[in-house]
Each structure stands twice: as C-alpha cells, then as structure tokens.
C-alpha cells in the first residue's frame, strides 16, 4: 500500500530530473576531473533539491481527511528520501580515485543536506503547505552553492573542500545532519499543525 501511495503521491518528475542532473554531473566530473570543484557541489545541490520534493502533495485537501492519516503519509514520503540519498552515494562512489576525494566527508555533507531538505519539507507539510518543494529546492540549492560562489571573496574556509575534510568540518556537517534529523523527527509527529479554531485531521 505504501509503495502504491509513493508511486502516485510523489512528484517524480522534478525529483528524478534533479537526480538525473546529479548523475550527469558525476559522469562529466569522472570524465574531466578538473571540473569536479564546481560539479560536485552542483550535484549535491541537485540531490538536496530532490529531497525537498518528497513532501509535495497535489491533493492535500482531499488526502488530509482520509483514514490513513497524516503520520502514515509522512513516514511513507520520508522513506522516498532514500532515492536521492542512493543517487548521492552513487555520485560519491563514482568520483575518480585520481582526484583523491574524501568520500566519507562528502557522504556526510550530502546526508546532512538531504536530511535538512527533507526535514524542512516535512515540517512545511505538517503545517499544511501542500507543495513546499519548489521553495525549499530553490533555498537549498542557493545555500549549498553559497560557499562555493561567495566563500572565496568573503574569506571563508571551504565548507566543501576538494582535499580531505578537516575534523572540525566533519563535526560541522554532522551537526547540520543532526539538525536535519531533528526537523525530520518533528515532522513525523502525529497530526497536523493547525491554528486554533480549525478542525484537525486524524493522525
């Protein structure tokens, strides 16, 4: 039943377009490793954007009163985050060994970004925003690309370095991941967040 719902309820086109772009970036980066400093953050932004779409609900007013409840729908949707997560891990695995990438560092950063995107989308869904994906995708893409574009002029230490990730950076990304997990957990609480005076749907 969950698979049936996921197949019909998830906006697969934007999600898969983002995943396809990430894989395309990985393939180009594998062929021309010099482009990886730009393409890898781009691929990460695409995967995080894809995770932002898993809570888009085209028929929110209809499904909010169905007996399955909001909790069942949200856990089902959160499970779909596995798709962009697998794509990201594939992107990291495809990195050419010659460029000596820090696979653990990149995987941690990717998981953190995906958790934050999915958690924020889940919280928005809980607050009855029917399609938060577009806004969250735009915001997440901007935030992921921000250190690459603005960092050099602002004098920031690289948050997505090409070499090994220093310990403080891994801890930072783990903290971001923890924040995302907290957001996701908050989103999975039963029920919907509605202003007082409105009917509440069955959890």
């Amino acid at each position: 039943m969950r698979l049936w719902y996921a197949r019909r309820g998830i906006p697969w086109i934007p999600l898969l377009v983002c995943c396809a772009l990430a894989l395309l970036a990985a393939a180009v980066g594998r062929r021309w490793p010099d482009t990886l400093p730009v393409l890898l953050p781009g691929a990460l932004a695409c995967c995080a954007a894809a995770a932002g779409f898993v809570f888009d609900e085209a028929a929110a007013p209809v499904v909010s009163v169905t007996p399955r409840g909001a909790g069942w729908r949200r856990t089902t949707r959160l499970c779909v985050t596995v798709v962009p997560l697998v794509v990201w891990l594939a992107v990291v695995a495809l990195l050419p060994a010659a460029s000596e990438p820090d696979r653990v560092g990149w995987s941690t950063a990717g998981v953190a970004c995906l958790l934050v995107a999915a958690g924020t989308a889940g919280l928005s869904a809980r607050r009855e925003v029917s399609a938060p994906g577009s806004s969250i995708a735009g915001l997440v893409c901007g935030l992921v690309l921000l250190p690459m574009v603005v960092g050099p002029i602002a004098g920031w230490a690289p948050l997505l370095p090409q070499g090994p990730f220093p310990n403080w950076l891994v801890v930072l990304w783990m903290g971001v991941g923890g924040l995302g997990a907290t957001l996701g957990a908050a989103a999975l609480r039963p029920g919907l967040h509605r202003p007082a005076g409105r009917l509440t749907a069955r959890a």
Partner: protein, 299 residues
C-alpha cells in the same frame, strides 16, 4: 506631434498599472527582501572590516554578492510569481490583457532587482570614496573609468535584472515544479565552469560568453591580483542583449504575440548580441594583466 493609435493610448496605462502591481508584489516578497538585506549586510561587513591601514580590496569581485543573492533570488521569486496566475488560468484568459502583456509587465517588474543591484554598486563606490583603496588595486585610476563602470554595471544591476527575467522565462516555459531551482543550479555551475579560460588558458576572453563573467581574480598569495582580459563595455552590451532575448523568448510563449515584428526583434537582438560578444573578445585588453603587489596583502 505624432498622434498615437487609439489602441496604444488605451493600452499604455494598463501595462504600466500591471507592471506596478507586479513590482509591488516583488517588493513585498519576504525572500526578496531577505536577499537584499543579506547582500547589503555583506557589503557592510566588507566596509567595516577594512581600516585606513588595510583598505577594502578585490573591489571588482564584489558584484558577485548582489548577483548571487539578489539575482538568483529574483530568478526563483519571478518564476513563482509568473506561475502564480496559473491557478486562475481560465479567468485570466477572459481578462482583456493578453499573456504577452502580462509577461511584459512581469519583465518590467524585474527593474526592481536591477534597481537594488544599482544601489548596491553605488554604495560600493561610495565606500571607496570614504576609504580609498590601495593604488595597486584594480579600480578607477588603473584602467579607463568607462571600463570599470561597465564591469560594475554588467555584473551587478544587469545580472540582477537578468536573474529576474530568467525567472519569468522559466515560469512561462517550464511547467514542472522546482524548475527554477534546477535552472539555478545549471546556470551557476555552467557559469563557474565557463570562467575556467580566465586563468587556465592563454585566451581568457573565451569566458565572456557566460552571463556573468569575472573580471578580477581576487588577491593572490603574493599580494597581486589578475585583471582578466576582455572589453567590458561590449560585454555590457552583450549581457543587455541576453536580457532582451530572454524577454522576447518569454513573450514568444503567447501564440498570438508571434508576429513578424517579434521575429525581427529577436533576430536583431541576436545579431547585435553576437557582434558585441565578438567585439568584447577582440578589442581592448585581451590579455590578463597582473597588478603590483598590495603590500599588506603579501602572505
């Protein structure tokens, strides 16, 4: 005095009114306001972190801030604003204004982010009047003033304008949710990859096809900075032609607007744009130039 055709007289105020409404929607958008605040916040940080002994540097790189924060935010905001009327598509079809006119009104509203970008570079110039940069810095005095103004205008207000217009184009043509985010990533990645010829090859002008071209490297470890080759005045004309082409492509979505005039306008824009691009690559200083080291930046 030439008399206006009655239909033109009747439509003109309406277009202005529509543009005003759309501009007001842009100004009230919280994301847009936040982006402007952050962009000016960075500028304040750059200004306040400098001192008499260590004046502000890398000034020609600063416009990346408004281009990123205001321009890219405008892309997402305008794409959403363009698509926002789709929920009432049937009612909109019955309205007297055509889709093409609504597109033009939305395009005119993009002058709001352009104005924010213009204010940003004027503030930057004011900061350099308050705290004079090092004489070795690539700025007014080390190259023709018109080149510096062209670099600043192309990379800040025109970039902000282009971001908004690209959002209108995305909203008109791409129907899947998140299209603006996808275009945002693609344009940033393509633009950054397009900058590679600036330093990696002996033909730095080959980067000038990109909609945002860097003209300065940022400070190197020896205190010098590289000014990338290319004629910024013609580059400014080129990016303005890109903006015009984007507007025409967005208007093209309305089948009723696909007139011969629009085709001619597109062809003329393409010709002028290609000519300007060619001239930006072949005239002026086509080689990279390295500045003298700024003493306090030597590491």
């Amino acid at each position: 005095m030439t008399a206006l055709h009655p239909s033109v007289r009747a439509e003109s105020p309406s277009l202005a009114a529509m543009a005003k409404i759309e501009a007001r929607r842009v100004v009230r958008n919280p994301f847009f306001l936040l982006a402007i605040l952050v962009a000016f916040g960075f500028q304040a940080y750059f200004a306040l972190s400098s001192s008499e002994a260590e004046p502000p540097g890398d000034l020609l790189s600063w416009p990346v801030i408004p281009a990123f924060f205001i321009g890219l935010t405008s892309l997402v905001v305008m794409a959403r604003q363009t698509r926002s009327t789709e929920a009432a598509a049937e009612a909109m079809n019955a309205a007297p204004g055509t889709e093409a006119r609504r597109t033009v009104a939305l395009s005119l509203a993009c002058l709001v982010p352009a104005a924010a970008g213009l204010l940003w570079i004027l503030t930057e110039v004011a900061i350099t009047l308050w705290r004079e940069p090092a004489p070795q810095e690539w700025w007014f005095g080390t190259m023709p003033n018109v080149q510096v103004w062209a670099m600043l205008l192309a990379n800040a207000p025109v970039a902000c304008l282009g971001g908004g217009l690209l959002g209108v184009l995305v909203g008109r043509w791409l129907r899947f949710p998140g299209a603006a985010a996808v275009v945002l990533v693609v344009i940033v990645v393509a633009d950054m990859l397009g900058q590679y010829p600036g330093e990696e090859t002996s033909h730095p002008v080959l980067r000038l096809w990109t909609p945002w071209a860097s003209f300065q490297s940022g400070t190197n470890t020896d205190g010098t900075a590289v000014q990338y080759g290319g004629n910024a005045v013609f580059y400014l004309v080129y990016v303005l032609c890109l903006c015009a082409a984007v507007v025409i492509a967005a208007v093209w979505r309305d089948r009723a607007a696909r007139t011969r005039q629009l085709r001619v306008a597109f062809a003329a824009t393409a010709v002028v744009g290609l000519l300007a691009l060619t001239l930006s690559m072949t005239t002026g200083t086509t080689e990279n130039r390295t500045s003298d080291p700024v003493p306090w930046k030597v590491q």
